[in-house]
Symmetry: C2
């Protein structure tokens, strides 16, 4: 399945901060076919560093989508049956308007002049895209981590437009520890002199700071156990030229490699804006409580968490499930056994596929 | 109790790397009185960023010692009964020879010319100090975190000189995750241009990198629960001048404050050398196995861990306990309930005091 990222353009988008962003571009991909009743559309919502290329082989660079194991013919999100959409988030750097986009007021990249964006802003832009595609009701909104936050926001902000929601390894708001990890990543970036107050698009990115931020991220995406299985205390081959603080252990080499690689595909300012959006997100905000917020939704829910995920621990999913059950909503919850930590939502395909396939089929039947 | 840090000077110290360090200074403090039989001496071993000032009020700056709640008259390490010693580790920056010390070969600070040091090197220097004080056998060696590693090393390297060992919230070697967190801290420091390859003593320290490294550290010292209790999602007062990436949440403010404060009291190169010593430490090394190493010891053991400590999880203490029990050694193990994470060994005074007092009294009785 060769796929191509497309773009939709809109004149403007009102933001929670009070500003109007204008113009706005959304990068997105679609897989499968929209049926005549326009009732089989599923919106996939990506995590922090994801993009619109969720499935198939990119025509541009030949790469597989980030959730290709879950989206495609006969897969969890079965493109023989459903029309699947994925878009890059607002504030991102993979085609959708973000801090690296051209600021029409200056003719240069926004940099730090980009307005503060929120998860509800991201979802508001997705709603524009879905309207633009002629879809008035989504069969499902689904995503892991920050994607789960967006799925929750969709279900609460647009109750008529969402038949079901699948938040995976997610939370309705960040804990102090989650904020803390994001803050250290931001400080690593902003401490790099090359960040230059956010205006580095002509001088070169804060590569070292962004790399350190990503290294921290990768530790939190894995688990103590998965790191032991993958690396243990295995050492790198001895190198005569090596000094005392070069790489000794495989785990160090892996983190440095992943940190460096990230710099080539991600914008440091997007890192700042998107992590802030996650930290500031609180689904209960404006509704008095989580229960008050979820009282608005009319969706069915499938909530999934993973035993070894310490970044988005199961108790955070269970808070959502309890609040949904309090409203007698149709909610299934599964805590899946996995050693992969937070990465499990990307890696654990088998059991997730069973759960999602069955849930979507039932939703389709009930919605029909 | 007003105390003063003293210094002992030695001509040289052979290191595991094959080099000879010369001369060597050890900063230390003592509390209480050595008895006539010289049988009541306890060596306290500090954690990564600690120093010789473990108890009492410093004559120099009026500050309380880092374990003052545990060391003093009628406290866990009762200075009415025991003679307590604490020294700054080799490679440190609080009086003992380290990378910020004068390199006699150049007349300038060592910087990156300082040799790689190990936990066994640190303990070898402590042994010199203890010999210098005229003590042939310690009633106990005790410490948390890296202090626990040193206690284990003492018991194995000098079995005749150690009547008992109290490793708290520690491990016999670092896991991949522990190495990973240290590596990110090192990369934050080395990514700061002010690090300058380790030679910054005339130009000024890599303050931003060291601060980021410390922020990461603080997250790992707390627990999800203690961070929720202490900070939750509490926001800082709104400030009109604030931009989008300034401090929004109290937890961010706390981490930035602690990071900045650390720069004033700790040397970035010591951070690199000491974390490498921890990562490279493996008590089993040279003995085939942990059990093989511990077969050498003749000490009684009190091993303590804490339920919410995810940096040095209880299973790491239990590995040590199992290996000790395999040799029919006298070992008591206690996993204490605490929400404080790794910091618990500094904070949880009540139960630790009960355990330690009783254990020391029994050791003293049996050794007599």
């Amino acid at each position: 399945m060769i796929v191509e990222t497309q773009c939709a353009h809109f004149d403007s988008l009102p933001l929670d901060c009070g500003e109007m962003l204008s113009p706005v571009t959304v990068a997105y991909e679609t897989y499968g076919k929209l049926n005549a009743a326009r009732s089989n559309a599923i919106l996939i919502l990506h995590a922090f560093s994801g993009d619109a290329h969720a499935a198939g082989v990119s025509r541009e660079n030949g790469k597989l989508g980030w959730w290709d194991s879950m989206i495609g013919p006969q897969k969890a999100f079965d493109t023989d049956r459903y029309f699947v959409i994925c878009s890059n988030v607002l504030g991102g750097c993979r085609g959708t308007t973000g801090p690296s986009s051209l600021n029409p007021a200056t003719g240069r990249a926004y940099g730090s002049a980009f307005p503060v964006v929120t998860i509800p802003d991201m979802v508001r832009l997705q709603k524009k895209l879905v309207d633009h595609l002629g879809i008035s009701r989504l069969l499902a909104v689904a995503g892991g981590s920050m994607g789960g936050m967006q799925a929750l926001q969709w279900a609460v902000a647009y109750p008529e437009a969402v038949a079901s929601a699948i938040p995976i390894a997610s939370a309705y708001r960040h804990s102090a520890q989650q904020i803390a990890f994001n803050e250290v990543g931001r400080m690593a970036i902003m401490s790099d002199p090359d960040w230059n107050g956010g205006d580095y698009y002509e001088s070169g990115p804060p590569a070292r700071g962004l790399s350190v931020a990503r290294m921290i991220g990768h530790i939190t995406y894995m688990s103590d156990e998965s790191m032991r299985e993958k690396f243990g205390r295995r050492q790198r081959p001895k190198d005569e030229l090596r000094n005392g603080f070069d790489v000794d252990f495989e785990v160090e080499n892996y983190l440095r490699y992943r940190g460096g690689e990230f710099v080539n595909r991600f914008d440091a300012n997007s890192y700042l804006y998107i992590t802030k959006a996650m930290d500031n997100f609180d689904l209960s905000s404006g509704y008095g409580s989580l229960s008050g917020a979820l009282a608005r939704t009319k969706a069915r829910f499938l909530v999934i968490s993973f035993t070894s995920d310490w970044l988005y621990p199961s108790y955070q999913s269970q808070e959502i499930v309890r609040a949904l059950r309090g409203h007698n909503l149709d909610v299934a919850y599964c805590e899946l056994q996995s050693n992969y930590g937070h990465d499990a939502f990307l890696v654990e395909v088998g059991e997730q596929t069973e759960l999602v396939r069955h849930f979507l089929a039932n939703t389709f039947k009930k919605a029909a």
